[in-house]
């Protein structure tokens, strides 16, 4: 459907990204790259700029500068509503399920941006609860079901780069386990995933690489293989 999906080995490359909310300078030159099919995490304390990085990619901040390449194309000047067409699916921290829409209306809301999105049958196969609750208002779902709906909503569109913001926050362990299985399945299907995650035990076995942020800057990049040696430093830095 769009040339954005011609394969490019680098799905996301960010160079010297600065972001501002009004007069506040939040991100101070973020650099990162994510290859197709990789899963990375953004780690850091509250206020370190992790969620703002995801929002900056989408243009949901007041002002941004630098370079954001998605699938080999520069998108920094694109308006927010065009970003989905580059194959980006965003699951925000607050889930953003629309109260005035039913579960299925929420699911069907985003336009399909590319071929290869999951069919409704596949989605209901992955999240059976949503099938049972498909006529319920979106906000009558439990927290876990809302999170599944927020994930399912972007999987239907054909998005191949997923930006997931704190998807395990406030959820029961059994739901967190289910989301871990979903991420593993998505990795097998060659999705590229950028996760902001507080739950390090959830993220550690899933991610190929970890970026640690502090005061709007990346202070460390830790490949999964080096994680065991860096655990003490990480615990100290993140305060977990």
């Amino acid at each position: 459907m769009t040339s954005a999906f011609q394969p490019h080995p680098e799905m996301l490359r960010i160079l010297d990204l600065h972001s501002f909310y009004g007069e506040s300078h939040i991100l101070h030159g973020i650099d990162l790259k994510v290859a197709r099919g990789e899963c990375i995490t953004l780690l850091g304390r509250n206020g370190s700029g992790r969620s703002t990085t995801l929002k900056s990619i989408l243009g949901l901040v007041g002002r941004r500068s630098g370079s954001i390449m998605v699938n080999g194309k520069e998108v920094i000047d694109e308006p927010t509503h065009r970003m989905a067409r580059y194959g980006i699916g965003y699951v925000p921290e607050e889930r953003a399920i629309f109260a005035s829409l039913s579960t299925e209306e929420n699911l069907m809301l985003p336009p399909q941006v590319a071929t290869g999105g999951m069919s409704l049958d596949e989605i209901y196969g992955m999240f059976p609860n949503l099938l049972e609750r498909r006529n319920s208002p979106g906000t009558k779902l439990s927290g876990g079901e809302q999170q599944m709906l927020a994930m399912a909503r972007v999987l239907r569109t054909g998005a191949k780069l997923l930006l997931l913001d704190e998807i395990t926050e406030g959820l029961a362990p059994v739901i967190v386990k289910k989301l871990g299985e979903v991420i593993t399945e998505l990795k097998k299907r060659d999705f590229t995933i950028v996760m902001v995650e507080q739950n390090f035990r959830f993220a550690a076995p899933l991610a190929d690489r970890h970026y640690v942020l502090e005061h709007g800057e990346i202070i460390a990049t830790i490949p999964a293989a080096e994680l065991p040696q860096k655990m003490d430093w990480l615990h100290q830095t993140l305060g977990v």
Binding site: L58, T80, H81, R82, L101
Partner: protein
């Protein structure tokens, strides 16, 4: 035949007048509710846009010989297009500011529009003939029903419920409802919200113009016809609940009927009954009868 000591013909005719007024309240408050829901703008120019709809129909007939049925389509498109222009050039700059700025801007625009029409056509009303097809009336036994007035009610109900259906049951409506709740997230999902906002304002304005064309044959077409009505319509929106679509429709029709009944049983109160109800609703249920707190 009498009902509660009132001749049925009098009661029926006043209820009909109430229903007709209620039809105008419903269309106009529906437009206001849609605009407020997505744009967060209290569109004070709505009355002037209703007046412009009537004037476009009158000018189309007197200058170009365009008949009522064509005007019913053309006037909303012309005035709606003007609305689109206003949204693109002015209102767009105010979305991030307090409601008050939008209200002040649209109030100023309403005064300018009214001033221009007063300058061109004066304040004495222009008459617009009832279309030939809808002339005459029907004797219902207990009252005489002018066909055009019956048409107003039918056309208004069709437009109101058509709009309700579009918003509640279609994909475009789902975009509108979602955009009303969280426009940033809707944009992040790939929907062109700025275009949706422009369409919404244009449609809301077109609804006002449609009501203006409907009103042209029953009221005098004059530059102040909108400002006389708009205050009552704002009261209707407050009673129904800001941003509630079905609330705007049902409250508009209901208050029109209550006004009609008041005119029969306590004529002195008919001009203020809507405002009395508004005060009571604000005290008891500040979010309005159909609004969400």
């Amino acid at each position: 035949m009498e009902i509660f000591g009132v001749p049925s013909a009098l009661l029926g005719s006043q209820l009909l007048v109430g229903l007709i007024n209620g039809s105008f309240y419903a269309i106009l408050s529906l437009g206001l509710a849609i605009i407020f829901g997505l744009l967060n703008i209290i569109n004070f120019a709505h009355g002037a846009q209703y007046m412009m709809g009537a004037f476009v129909a009158w000018i189309a007939l007197t200058k170009f010989g365009i008949n009522y049925w064509v005007a019913l389509l053309v006037a909303p498109i012309v005035v709606g297009a003007l609305g689109v222009l206003l949204e693109r050039t002015m209102l767009r700059k105010l979305y991030k500011l307090d409601h008050l700025y939008g209200l002040l801007l649209t109030f100023g625009l309403a005064l300018i529009f009214e001033g221009v029409f007063r300058d061109q056509y004066g304040i004495s009303g222009q008459s617009y003939p009832v279309p030939e097809l809808l002339e005459g009336g029907v004797n219902l036994g207990f009252m005489y029903l002018p066909i055009y007035r019956g048409w107003i009610v039918i056309a208004a109900l069709a437009v109101c419920f058509g709009t309700w259906f579009m918003i509640e049951k279609t994909k475009l409506g789902a975009y509108l409802r979602a955009g009303t709740e969280n426009p940033q997230m809707v944009q992040a999902l790939g929907i062109n919200v700025p275009l949706l906002i422009t369409f919404t304002y244009g449609y809301g304005v077109a609804l006002a113009a449609f009501a203006g064309v409907l009103a042209a044959p029953v009221y005098q077409v004059n530059p102040l016809m909108g400002s006389n009505l708009i205050i009552v319509v704002f009261a209707v929106v407050v009673i129904g609940g800001m941003g509630s679509i079905m609330g705007a429709i049902l409250t508009g029709l209901g208050l029109g009927l209550i006004e009609g009944l008041t005119r029969v049983f306590y004529p002195e109160g008919s001009a203020v009954v809507v405002f009395i109800i508004m005060v009571i609703v604000l005290l008891v249920r500040p979010a309005g009868l159909f609004g969400k707190a």
